[in-house]
């Protein structure tokens, strides 16, 4: 079964879809770059946004690649390659694949139990469960942004809007939630207030924050602005190394 799932024709189907999405990204990138130049944005700024995004994405992408490897054992390589290149995230795909496997009567998500019908059903459910973001974008992106834009012009009476602060606050809330969950995992992961849970995520986060502090110090105080593009990836890498050392 697994050799059927790894057959060239399935690679071809998945490859075509990925190539289409890559082409869409190129179109959006070129258009945005040209529009940026047309309204007089500094090309250096645009290029910095590009390089920083590429360096930022390399490490998480390797993590995603590991997800492909993790799923390839039961679903073959091409389908997880497509799912994780294009739309999904590993935690989502695994959860949905598991649920679909249960429904078609597989005892577990494994290559030995896989049947063509089970695979087709799992693949279908994976596609359906996460299509809403795209559907909502198709239907409402324009109207929603227009509505928000309308509010903005009403608010803008000389002062900077609350929008920026709201985004920063949203992010502070998001990061706090995750950091809180790591602390909670350590303190109560093995029973409330036992302090016997996993300490690694906290150490990794702390190391990574410390390295980030160094990066910010160097780029702001020592004027090494080019370092900014590597700050996130660099901090993450050192943080992840810490996980190996402890």
């Amino acid at each position: 079964m697994i050799s059927q799932l790894n057959s060239p024709s399935i690679y071809l189907i998945c490859g075509i879809i990925i190539a289409f999405v890559a082409a869409v990204c190129v179109v959006f990138m070129v258009r945005a770059y040209r529009a940026g130049i047309a309204i007089g944005m500094d090309p250096a700024k645009l290029k910095r946004a590009l390089t920083s995004s590429v360096t930022f994405s390399i490490l998480p992408s390797i993590g995603i690649l590991l997800g492909v490897i993790a799923l390839s054992g039961s679903l073959g390589t091409p389908w997880p390659w497509l799912r994780l290149s294009v739309i999904g995230a590993l935690h989502y795909e695994t959860q949905v694949a598991q649920a679909a496997a249960e429904q078609v009567g597989l005892s577990s998500l494994s290559a030995s139990a896989m049947t063509p019908r089970a695979f087709a059903t799992i693949a279908f459910l994976m596609s359906v469960c996460i299509m809403w973001g795209m559907i909502l974008s198709i239907l409402f992106n324009k109207a929603y942004l227009k509505k928000l834009g309308g509010q903005k012009t009403k608010e803008s009476s000389g002062k900077p809007g609350f929008g920026d602060s709201a985004m920063v606050a949203m992010f502070i809330g998001l990061v706090s939630t995750y950091i809180g969950s790591y602390i909670g995992g350590f303190v109560s992961g093995q029973g409330v207030l036992t302090f016997r849970g996993d300490l690694t995520p906290i150490i990794v986060a702390a190391v990574s924050a410390l390295v980030m502090a160094c990066f910010i110090y160097l780029s702001e105080k020592k004027h090494l602005v080019w370092l900014e593009s590597f700050s996130i990836a660099g901090s993450m890498l050192v943080g992840m190394l810490a996980a190996i050392l402890i």
Partner: protein
Amino acid sequence: MQDKTVLDTYNQKTHVIGRIASAITLIMLVGAPFLIGSILGAMPDLGAAAKGFLSVGLIWTISSVVEFLVYTPMLGAGGGYLAFITGNLINMKIPCAMNAREIAGTQSGTTENEIISTLSIAASSLTTIIVLALGVLLLVPLQPILQSETLQPAFANVVPALFGAMAYQYFRKNIKLACVPLVMMTLLFVFVPSLISSTSMMIIPSGAITIGLAYLIFRKKGSL
């Protein structure tokens, strides 16, 4: 004045291209299982898929709606379409776009920001596509290295590493404000550890409270 016409055309076209690209991707993604099924000689079991949808799909549907409402304003039109086509929002696209915005120093809701986030999401998506394509190509020789026992802890901790770095970046903007959700969420997870498995859902109350507090600070000081 010419800038405005350039921009209007740009925005109009972004929506047209975004909608068409999303629709085609959607059709291909939902169609692929049927096409693959016909090659393998079996069609998806729609009854089982429906049951599976009721068990896990509904949660993802709700979270998709929330994601759409929260992230679309952050990403703008172009970035929004692309991000929902290419996925991995919370662990990659959103931080990536915020980081690019930070570096370029643009304000949310402005055209500059729209352009920077579109560039950022497109570059990020292409990076993933290229890394994955190379990875799949090299999968056979690379597999032993990537799956080696020594490297596993590093890859298992890619998310904490990301949030640690971002914590420093964002907490320093207003450390007093950051203490509130941090202490609150820590206490919550310490005393209700079962919630750790649904951390992503807890982002919503935590974010809402932080935004609420930020608004009070903003009204008083005019900034964070």
